[in-house]
């Protein structure tokens, strides 16, 4: 059926959980050793398949959180209320357990260093996951580069969470930005803010994007990932701010509600 012909089947592979990292009250990262993992690009995802003893199966897609340079594959799972697969992955699975996955999947919502920057990332909630893979990829590629070469590949992240405790990768993001003046991270906390919070405290809107993003004349590569309401409004605002639609890539997850 496929005229492309050469494409090999993306086969199911066995993965072993080698570490479980709590991220927030609702999310944790599974660090996996995947048999014969073919490698991935930052932004891609995998399909995970669970099988019950009687043969019943359930499949879901999860974004990859780790850099392509990392030999271990990391998936960050948000526990959804009544989530058939996410509750198992977020609550049941232990180090040493095995699961099946196939990938990598998706060839559009991806960023590689040669694509260049500026790189402008907009995340809502667990929409940070594929964007974190991009930031980790950028860091891995820049390695020990000096400030001047980092400035050649600048990145900015605008990240919306409900509260400070719900910011996924909070420490890891701070560490990435600590020694990198070419990486700027701005948080907005939409429901509750810690004492003394001076950052944004509202949903991402056009004024916020105008303040944080590069102007359209800089032609930033824009990646927006989060719940539909956030992605729709942020992408629309970026278009209104003059950014070329072809440079704005979006990925959405979750039900139509779920505002962050």
């Amino acid at each position: 059926m496929n005229p492309v012909g050469a494409a090999p089947r993306i086969s199911w592979r066995q993965a072993t959980v080698i570490d479980v990292v709590p991220e927030t009250p609702r999310t944790r990262t599974l660090v996996l050793d995947v048999l014969d993992w073919p490698g991935h690009r930052a932004g891609q995802h995998v399909d995970v398949r669970l099988t019950a003893p009687d043969g019943y199966q359930a499949e879901r897609s999860y974004s990859i959180a780790s850099a392509p340079e990392d030999p271990r594959l990391a998936l960050t799972i948000e526990r959804l209320e009544e989530g058939e697969v996410s509750t198992y992955l977020a609550d049941e699975l232990h180090t040493g357990d095995k699961l099946e996955l196939r990938g990598p999947i998706g060839g559009y919502f991806v960023w590689d260093v040669p694509v260049g920057g500026p790189l402008f990332l907009v995340a809502g909630g667990s929409g940070i996951v594929p964007l974190m893979a991009m930031l980790r990829h950028r860091e891995a590629a820049l390695g020990t580069s000096d400030a001047a070469s980092r400035r050649g590949l600048p990145a900015r992240l605008l990240y919306s969470s409900r509260g400070w405790e719900e910011v996924i990768y909070r420490e890891a993001l701070a560490r990435l930005a600590q020694n990198d003046t070419a990486l700027e991270i701005r948080h907005t906390l939409t429901r509750s803010q810690p004492a003394g919070w001076t950052g944004f405290r509202r949903r991402i809107d056009r004024a916020m994007l105008e303040e944080v993003a590069w102007p359209s004349s800089e032609r930033p590569r824009v990646f927006i990932c989060g719940p539909t309401s956030l992605v729709e409004s942020a992408a629309q605002a970026m278009v209104e701010l003059g950014h070329e639609p072809a440079l704005i890539k979006t990925e959405r997850f979750g039900p139509t509600g779920g505002a962050v």
């Binding site: 059926m1 496929n2 005229p3 492309v4 494409a7 090999p8 089947r9 993306i10 199911w12 066995q14 399909d47 398949r49 669970l50 099988t51 019950a52 003893p53 043969g55 019943y56 199966q57 359930a58 499949e59 879901r60 897609s61 058939e84 198992y88 049941e92 357990d97 095995k98 699961l99 099946e100 999947i105 998706g106 060839g107 559009y108 919502f109 539909t228 992605v231 729709e232 992408a235 629309q236 970026m238 278009v239 639609p245 072809a246 704005i248 890539k249 979006t250 959405r252 979750g254 039900p255 139509t256 509600g257």
Partner: protein, 206 residues
């Protein structure tokens, strides 16, 4: 032989639901939105729809002309490659059969394949046999109301027997072709045909 997931029971559906779900899918009552870029917005006064023959002949309708064509309503299950399925969705639009017979009067002749092209640059390819015989529509009403832009409005292709990325949002043109040519997702690792009942999600799936 699949690996048994220790401690996984899963949520069993009723037999009726299970029978309606293609392999690897789950039922949702929401209507999730997926698209690769910003939602294009076009005023209806600037909208038109083109059916282009491989012979270079074209038929084109303005919005008013298009919605005045004989309409049909269909109730159908839809299946997204990202795993959700939604049962009993109700659509109203113009069947591709109607468009082809109207276009025939302008000299547009059938060809074995077509490429749907959309505002925003999205494309998807289909065999003609999969959009004729009452299997496909250009839909502009969903659940009794104008199709919202995030769901593909003003009009989207509806080919419910294939994964829903084939039901191209914001469709503006159907271009008939003598040979097959992969569209957007079909060039980016997704299956060329996309039959959910054979779980043809990705290139290489049989």
């Amino acid at each position: 032989m699949s690996l048994i997931s220790r401690g996984f029971r899963g949520r069993r559906q009723t037999a009726e639901t299970a029978a309606r779900l293609p392999p690897g899918q789950y039922e949702t009552r929401d209507f999730p939105v997926l698209s690769a870029g910003p939602t294009p917005r076009i005023p209806l006064t600037a909208w038109n729809f083109t059916l282009k023959g491989a012979n270079g002949r074209t038929a084109r309708w303005t919005w008013d002309e298009f919605v005045a064509l004989p309409r049909s309503t269909t109730t159908t299950d839809i299946h997204c490659v990202t795993k959700w399925s939604k049962f009993g969705t109700v659509w109203e639009g113009i069947s591709v059969d109607t468009l082809l017979s109207e276009a025939a009067r302008h000299g547009v002749e059938p060809s074995p394949y077509l490429l749907a092209t959309c505002d925003g640059g999205y494309t998807t390819n289909l065999p003609l046999a999969d959009v004729t015989g009452g299997k496909a529509w250009v839909a502009f009403m969903y659940d009794g109301a104008p199709l919202p832009s995030e769901h593909g409005g003003p009009a989207r292709l509806l080919v419910p027997h294939l994964y829903f990325w084939k039901s191209a949002k914001w469709v503006r043109e159907l271009r008939l072709m003598e040979s097959d040519s992969p569209g957007f997702w079909e060039s980016l690792g997704y299956h060329n045909y996309g039959d959910p009942w054979r779980e043809q999600r990705y290139a290489g799936d049989e």
